[in-house]
């Protein structure tokens, strides 16, 4: 049926494309230390984008039987659409697939028994704790067809595991710690449990820290959150609208020269990799920040044309939406200091792992303000307990242009590969001093 629709659309449109996504997943959820549910999900859909007289119309459906109606709706919406005079790519191919063949070895019984042993491990150290574990296996495919003759597809797979612990201390304080991992194939995640035990142990004692400008060491998990705020300024849509703080800063140095960040859709084994983007553009590695200098914005075809920049494979969409610019894997270059030495260099400061409410401030200008969900006091180079009921407030962009130290160790946090980061003077306020 899809071929007939293509023939019909070809007669009416300057160009069109059809995206078809389909997939299934099996999430297993442990809640409150026990198996709660096993799920099986199937979902698929079609998105039709047409360009008629330079105007773009779009519609979608999740039933292949109603694809002709969706195509008809897209055509009838086109006169209302935005003027788009870019062209679609003529060809692309899948040089690799973000698909782990061993994903098919996923076994519900084994996953349940693995999760139970991870929970037992945590409970053996904290018998009062409440642990949730979520494991998901998913796989699927995407196919893209367009009027320029492109017809390409690839398979993808994802295995993800997440653990979160809640522990209420004798004093009545609540400690929440979470960790997660993801891959294209099944992986062992017991190390996440060990890390959760370590962080919870450190959080049992509560300490205070005087308000003021203090040195702050951020874990990779915390750095990834901070970098999410920076990353939003690299979105070509924000640049085009003039609301990116980096809009007029291309080729300008605005961060410390130690800052090097890449977007890389070709990282092997990553579920965030893809051979071509959702508009059929071959996806390649690109620097975003090189030695503190803004290099590239990430873009879809529409904004590449508007900004006169080259599309490098960052157009993203599901079947029910038009493309928008999106990141793939983010890599932040490592530094040269071991984490241990960074910690030892701090006489009085804090280590931050988790925030509450970061990103609700006016982040367009780099302002950040957040309560600290999980943070620790550092005294004379050692972690001596948890700080809570406190917040940091500062301008992230100024901080990243000041003194920073990056660790030689890096950790994978979601789609980002991230080092620890030390900022020497961050504004910190404690509530009960």
């Amino acid at each position: 049926m899809i071929e007939k629709i293509c023939r019909d659309l070809a007669k009416q449109c300057r160009w069109f494309d059809i995206i078809h996504t389909s997939g299934s997943s099996i999430p297993i959820q442990f809640k409150n230390n026990r198996l709660h549910s096993v799920q099986e999900k199937e979902n698929s859909g079609f998105g039709v984008r047409v360009n008629i007289k330079n105007r773009t119309g779009f519609s979608y459906t999740n039933s292949s039987g109603r694809l002709p109606q969706a195509a008809g709706r897209a055509v009838s919406m086109a006169p209302y659409g935005d003027e788009e005079i870019f062209d679609l790519p003529e060809q692309c191919s899948a040089d690799f697939e973000p698909y782990g063949n061993t994903i098919d070895e996923f076994n519900i019984d084994r996953e349940i028994s693995n999760a139970e042993s991870v929970i037992d491990l945590i409970l053996s150290r904290f018998p009062q704790a409440v642990v949730d574990v979520g494991i998901t296996k998913s796989s699927g495919s995407m196919r893209l067809i367009n009027s320029q003759g492109l017809d390409a597809s690839y398979r993808h797979s994802l295995y993800s595991a997440g653990i979160s612990l809640t522990h209420v201390t004798e004093k009545g304080s609540k400690i929440d710690v979470w960790e997660g991992t993801s891959s294209t194939h099944c992986v062992d995640y017991v190390s996440l449990a060990e890390r959760i035990i370590e962080r919870t142990t450190l959080a049992l004692a509560e300490r205070g820290c005087a308000s003021g400008k203090i040195p702050v060491l951020f874990t990779p998990k915390a750095v990834a959150r901070l970098m999410g705020i920076v990353a939003s300024g690299f979105n070509a849509k924000a640049v085009w609208k003039g609301i990116s703080p980096f809009a007029d800063k291309r080729d300008t140095k605005i961060f410390n020269e130690k800052m090097n960040i890449h977007d890389d859709p070709s990282v092997p084994g990553s579920p965030y990799s893809y051979p071509f983007d959702d508009e059929g553009v071959i996806a390649v590695r690109k620097p975003l920040i090189e030695n503190g200098v803004i290099c590239n914005f990430i873009t879809d075809l529409k904004h590449a044309h508007k900004l006169n920049i080259k599309p490098l494979g960052n157009g993203s969409r599901g079947y029910a939406s038009l493309p928008f610019p999106s990141f793939s894997n983010i890599e932040i270059d490592a530094g040269t200091e071991p984490v241990k030495a960074m910690l030892e260099s701090i006489n009085q400061g804090i280590l931050i792992d988790q925030f509450i409410g970061l990103g609700q401030s006016n982040t367009l200008t780099g302002d950040i303000s957040a309560n600290l969900d999980l943070a620790f006091l550092i005294e004379k180079g050692e972690i001596t307990g948890r700080v809570k009921d406190c917040m940091i407030s500062d301008n992230l962009f100024s901080l990243l242009n000041g003194d920073i130290v990056l660790s030689e160790e890096r950790e994978q946090v979601g789609s980002a590969l991230v080092p620890y980061m030390l900022l020497t003077g961050v504004s910190y306020t404690g509530i009960f001093q």
């Binding site: 230390n33 799920q39 409440v130 308000s211 003021g212 509450i356 609700q360 303000s369 509530i431």
Partner: protein, 461 residues
């Protein structure tokens, strides 16, 4: 608008009655919607699409099985598949509250049905608001979103319940971004509810307020960091009660956690004598309205705090059974493809004894925090960001402030509520609440003006 789901449901009805096991339910939906997003002079998105979906949830030997799909013609085989998975997975300890069968049909009352309004008219209205949003020389860009959906939703379970609901929802979200040099200042408002096109018509004043506020904020100064006495407006009071307290009253956080149960024991003092807090899914004009929850329970008004004392909490069938408390109709799912979780509906602080002016008369020096950008909590500590505010000197509103980020400890802050005014207002919008990866779930929240002592405001020192 049913794409055949009623005939699928009618066939399943006889099948589900014979399902063995503790409990099973089938949910089906079919819907269509339109989204229009204009940004500056551009049309970001103008689409209308359709979708059908279904799911089967089974409780067998104490463990839940959930199967979701959009090929609803095969609902019966997905039910079989669910039963097959349920028979193989390990036994668990989940139990649920059983209720009597309910059979009913519901439909949103619409003055102007959405399918009787042409795409032209929806587009022109959005364009009109977008024009107002850009009507100031300092506006860098705007974003106006119109969204509507009409759907039919069917809920069936092994207790014999058969609930069918024709739902019509629409709303607008209006944002302006003002810029002066390096200062970039966004502001937005949103309006939504169950009904027809009448919900979004005649909202010029909302757009005018958005553009004026974002432009005015360019000249506002950052709030001074430190601990302050704060008056919060009804919208911020609503977000505060939703974020800081409402989530804490969701029973799934406490029902299998003895430590949390101790913290949230009914009868515990939780604020001043004048404080009364409710969650009420029956308020039918508001975004959190539900005729029945996604476990087939008819909602009720639940008193969460009465006269400053913890008096109730929000339940799903499972938490209700485990805690031996009555179900409240708060088992809600984002859509039929997701499992129900304990969620809020319309949550608010009820009116207090004071005239709003009396709060200003008694505060002395402090901060008046107005409107809200967002909020987050870990159930003990919270952060939320006010849209803007004013310095208060000697009870008088002074210079405009921005970047007011309020942080605190839920338990201390509830206890620090000093005065409660009588001017309750409710708020909703196209956004909503997020939990367990299900966002945005439509909810509303509200309250009167509150005076709170000892609120930590972040900022540069």
């Amino acid at each position: 608008m049913d794409f055949g789901i009623d005939s699928v449901a009618d066939k399943i009805l006889s099948r589900i009655a014979n399902v063995s096991g503790d409990y099973a339910e089938v949910r089906l939906s079919a819907g269509a919607g339109t989204t229009i997003t204009l940004s500056g002079s551009e049309i970001d998105l103008f689409t209308s699409g359709d979708s059908v979906a279904g799911s089967v949830r089974i409780l067998s030997r104490g463990t839940w099985t959930f199967v979701s799909f959009n090929n609803i013609e095969d609902t019966e085989s997905f039910l079989k598949k669910g039963l097959s998975i349920a028979s193989k997975i390990p036994a668990g300890t989940s139990t649920i509250r059983k209720t009597k069968a309910v059979a009913a049909q519901y439909a949103t009352r619409c003055a102007v049905p959405l399918d009787k309004v042409g795409l032209d008219e929806k587009f022109e209205l959005t364009k009109k608001y977008n024009g107002i949003l850009g009507s100031h020389r300092n506006i860098q860009t705007t974003r106006s979103t119109y969204r509507d959906s009409q759907s039919r939703y069917i809920f069936l379970n092994t207790e014999g319940s058969d609930l069918r609901y024709d739902r019509s929802y629409c709303g607008i979200s209006l944002a302006s971004v003002a810029r002066d040099g390096a200062v970039i200042q966004p502001f937005h408002e949103s309006v939504s509810g169950y009904g027809g096109f009448e919900i979004v018509r005649g909202r010029e004043a909302v757009a005018e307020k958005v553009v004026k506020t974002s432009a005015d904020l360019l000249k506002a100064e950052p709030a001074p960091a430190g601990t302050h006495r704060v008056i919060v407006d009804p919208k911020l009071a609503g977000v505060f009660i939703h974020e800081a307290f409402g989530h804490l009253s969701e029973a799934d956080f406490v029902y299998e956690n003895p430590q949390m149960r101790d913290l949230m024991v009914l009868g515990k003092k939780f604020g001043p004598e004048d404080l009364n807090v409710y969650d009420d899914g029956t308020m039918n004009a508001l975004a959190g309205f539900i005729p029945f929850d996604d476990e087939g329970i008819i909602p009720a008004r639940t008193a969460l705090i009465k006269s400053g004392v913890l008096s109730g909490r929000l339940h799903s069938r499972e938490t209700s059974e485990k805690m031996n408390e009555e179900p409240t109709g708060n088992g809600r799912a984002l859509n039929v493809m997701r499992q129900p979780l304990v969620r809020m509906t319309n949550t608010f602080i009820d009116r207090g004894p004071h005239d709003p002016e009396a709060l200003f008369d008694s505060i002395g020096d402090g901060i008046y925090a107005v409107d809200v950008i967002g909020g987050q909590t870990n159930l003990e500590m919270f952060t939320f960001t006010s849209g803007y505010g004013y310095e208060i000197k000697n009870g008088k509103k002074g210079r405009m402030l921005k970047d007011i980020v309020l942080s605190g400890n839920v338990f201390h802050t509830m206890d620090s509520i000093g005065m409660i005014a009588s001017d309750v207002q409710m708020f909703g919008g196209l956004g909503g609440c997020g939990k367990g990866g299900q966002s945005p779930l439509p909810v509303s929240f509200g309250g009167p003006h509150l005076l709170i002592n000892n609120v930590l405001i972040g900022g540069k020192q």
